[in-house]
């Protein structure tokens, strides 16, 4: 069974992926320029407007929390650690996983065995456990978080790519290229990486979305970015107690999180589809 069978594939049409792309772009821009949009920061309290309901298109579109803080500002500022840490971890995990897969494929039997074994063991430890241990001993912070998320994501990239590369490398056309004189880097550049490119995009976006989910879960558990800096998971947790009276404190940032995760996956799959050859089913033929 291929590792890919376990990963979701979202077949969104052109319109769907366009919507997802526009949403993702808007969220990223708004998060990056949160400082320009809300020069007052995420902590501007105004006790006169406590627990204001969302007006959606008026002032305070997402309402306020129990301290009268603008929820839109908190959501946008909270996206900074969520998206930033996840993105860095996703890139690191993809690079690490790709390097491991290449090493296992091209390095010969001992490397393949060693790396595969490490991946197996790593997979035998649920990521959340590693996170619990590391974060309980190091305390929360950006660097340990990135480390934990990277460690938790690289195995999936490794497995997907390793399976794909094993298929590709066994194909006669790779051998034909060797016979034609291609070696090492030339072989990689001309034949191996192009065949793996669609999967690399899928792996990157998948890592981004899983890292984002894990990051916000840790935030929810109180192991993420420490307050007063806001973070999506942490905002959701803070609103849970007031779910009956002020539902928006929890549900609106959570909805943002879900929409972002789905958009990332749709955009990734769309790019992968565009990179896949016409007339081929899996990118290998």
């Amino acid at each position: 069974m291929s590792a890919l069978a376990v990963t979701p594939r979202r077949r969104a049409g052109r319109t769907g992926s366009l919507v997802a792309g526009v949403f993702l772009g808007a969220v990223v821009l708004a998060v990056v320029f949160a400082g320009v949009l809300f020069p007052g920061g995420y902590d501007a309290q105004d006790l006169t407007r406590r627990l204001a309901e969302p007006t959606w298109f008026g002032p305070l579109p997402l309402g306020t929390d129990e301290l009268g803080r603008d929820m839109l500002a908190r959501v946008l500022y909270g996206g900074r650690p969520a998206l930033g840490i996840s993105a860095v971890a996703a890139v690191l995990a993809t690079v690490l996983g790709t390097a491991a897969a290449l090493g296992a494929t091209l390095g010969g039997r001992p490397w393949d065995g060693l790396i595969g074994r490490v991946a197996d063991v790593q997979l035998a430890v649920p990521t959340i456990l590693i996170a619990l241990v590391v974060l309980s001993f190091s305390g929360s912070g950006t660097i340990p978080l990135i480390g934990v998320l990277t460690v938790g994501s690289w195995v999936l990239t490794f497995r997907i790519l390793r399976a794909q590369l094993a298929t590709v490398v066994a194909l006669p056309y790779i051998e034909a290229a060797r016979l034609a004189g291609a070696q090492g880097p030339t072989l990689l550049r001309r034949h191996v990486l192009p065949a793996a490119a669609p999967l690399l995009v899928v792996a990157l976006t998948l890592n981004f979305s899983t890292a984002l989910v894990l990051e916000s879960s840790l935030g929810y558990l109180g192991l993420g970015i420490a307050p007063p800096r806001p973070d999506w998971g942490q905002i959701v947790a803070s609103g849970q107690a007031q779910l009956a009276g002020a539902w928006w404190i929890s549900l609106v940032p959570g909805a943002f999180l879900v929409a972002t995760v789905v958009s990332i996956q749709i955009v990734g799959d769309r790019i992968a589809d565009l990179l896949t050859l016409p007339g081929s089913q899996d990118g290998t033929r």
Binding site: M1, A5, V6, P8, R10, D120, V121, Q122, L123, A124, V125, P126, T127, I128, L129, I130, L132, V133, V134, L135, S136, F137, S138, G139, P144, S209, V213, S216, S217, Y220, L221, G222, L223, G233, V236, A237, Q240, L243, A244, W247, S250, L251, G254, L257, V258, V261, V262, Q265
Partner: protein
């Protein structure tokens, strides 16, 4: 290479009298002792590897003594506490001591509760087992049902819907899914309790959250292997035998498709356990996961270690069972 395993050789006339032709042969046990042993050995190695990773993750990330003390604690106090906790000893010595603690189950006393951390964990274990088991049952049933509908459903358009819904729900982080379910069923509809444990009603939402995280991959894998099965030549041969359609589907397609599903359940056992940690926090479920989270909050690292060791062992055990069950379903794996 088949020739090595079973000489195809041209059959000669059977030498000697054939064995008693009247008595049917007993069915063969599908697992060889050697296979079971090798899986067991693998499981022990996996537990050891997990514990080693945990140990080094712990030591790479710093000294908890400084976290345990107030920020203004003096250098001297930190050194004294570090020594008292055993963190000043050479690393190999600490590593051996840690393995010894796991083997004997004698961890240092809990910092917060003062007692034996293993007892604390064992006390919470039944709740987590209950939640995990129901989560697995719900996830497997939902996933299998959705996968089967996707392949055998009559309406070409509608039959895709269940898998799509599960895949969409998969993108929702467990903690948020839990909160949405609480909002809908606990607050708006007021039919289920918001949090806590004790009655079957308390179990519904947390088990559903865990199950939904598990259902989507199960559904996809089941769907894929069912699709492969319906086109397989051995299924056409079974149809040619003239046995009923229901029997062909059940015996030759569905049961054959279960082995990959079991493998997914094994891989996803980590998701269930991780999900249990988060889900227990969301629903205030008094299990091992919640113990671990609160132990981290209070820097009660002996309890953290005991929890982690136990969860890791549970994970490896689940995978061992899954491996053996999958090998029974696919004899090509289990007889080597």
């Amino acid at each position: 290479m088949t020739a090595v395993l079973s000489p195809s050789g041209p059959p000669g006339p059977p030498a000697g009298a054939p064995p008693d032709p009247v008595r049917p042969a007993r069915p063969r046990w599908p697992l060889s002792a050697r296979y079971v042993l090798s899986r067991l050995l693998n499981a022990v190695l996996a537990v050891w590897a997990v514990l080693t990773i945990v140990f080094f993750a712990m030591h790479l990330t710093g000294n908890p003594a400084s976290l345990l003390l107030p920020i203004d604690a003096s250098e001297e106090e930190i050194t004294r506490l570090t020594a008292a906790l055993g963190f000043a000893d050479p690393l190999p010595e600490q590593y051996l001591r840690f393995l010894g603690q796991v083997l004997t189950g004698e961890f240092p006393d809990s910092i917060r509760y003062g007692g034996d951390p293993v007892a604390l964990v064992l006390e919470r274990l039944p709740a987590t087992l209950l939640l995990g088991t129901w989560g697995m049952i719900i996830g497997a049933s939902l996933g299998l049902a959705a996968g089967a509908v996707a392949v055998f459903g009559r309406n070409r358009r509608l039959r895709r819907v269940p898998v799509s819904v599960l895949t969409a729900l998969e993108a929702v982080p467990s903690f948020f899914l839990g909160i949405v379910l609480i909002a809908v069923f606990g607050i708006v509809l007021s039919v289920l309790p918001l949090r806590g444990a004790g009655t079957p009603a308390h179990l519904v939402l947390p088990a559903l959250v865990i199950g939904l995280a598990l259902a989507a991959p199960v559904a996809r894998v089941f769907r894929t292997s069912l699709q492969e099965g319906t086109g397989a030549e051995h299924v056409r041969l079974a149809e040619a035998k003239g046995i009923g359609r229901a029997r062909v589907v059940l015996r030759h397609i569905v049961v054959n498709a279960l082995a990959p599903v079991l493998n997914v359940l094994g891989v996803q056992a980590g998701v269930v356990l991780g999900g249990a940690v988060v889900t227990e926090a969301v629903f205030g479920w008094p299990g091992v996961g919640q113990l671990a989270t609160s132990a981290i909050d209070s820097r009660d690292f002996p309890v953290v270690l005991a929890c982690v060791a136990l969860i890791a062992i549970g994970f490896v055990l689940v995978n061992l069972l899954v491996d053996l069950a999958a090998a029974i379903l696919d004899p090509r794996g289990g007889r080597r």
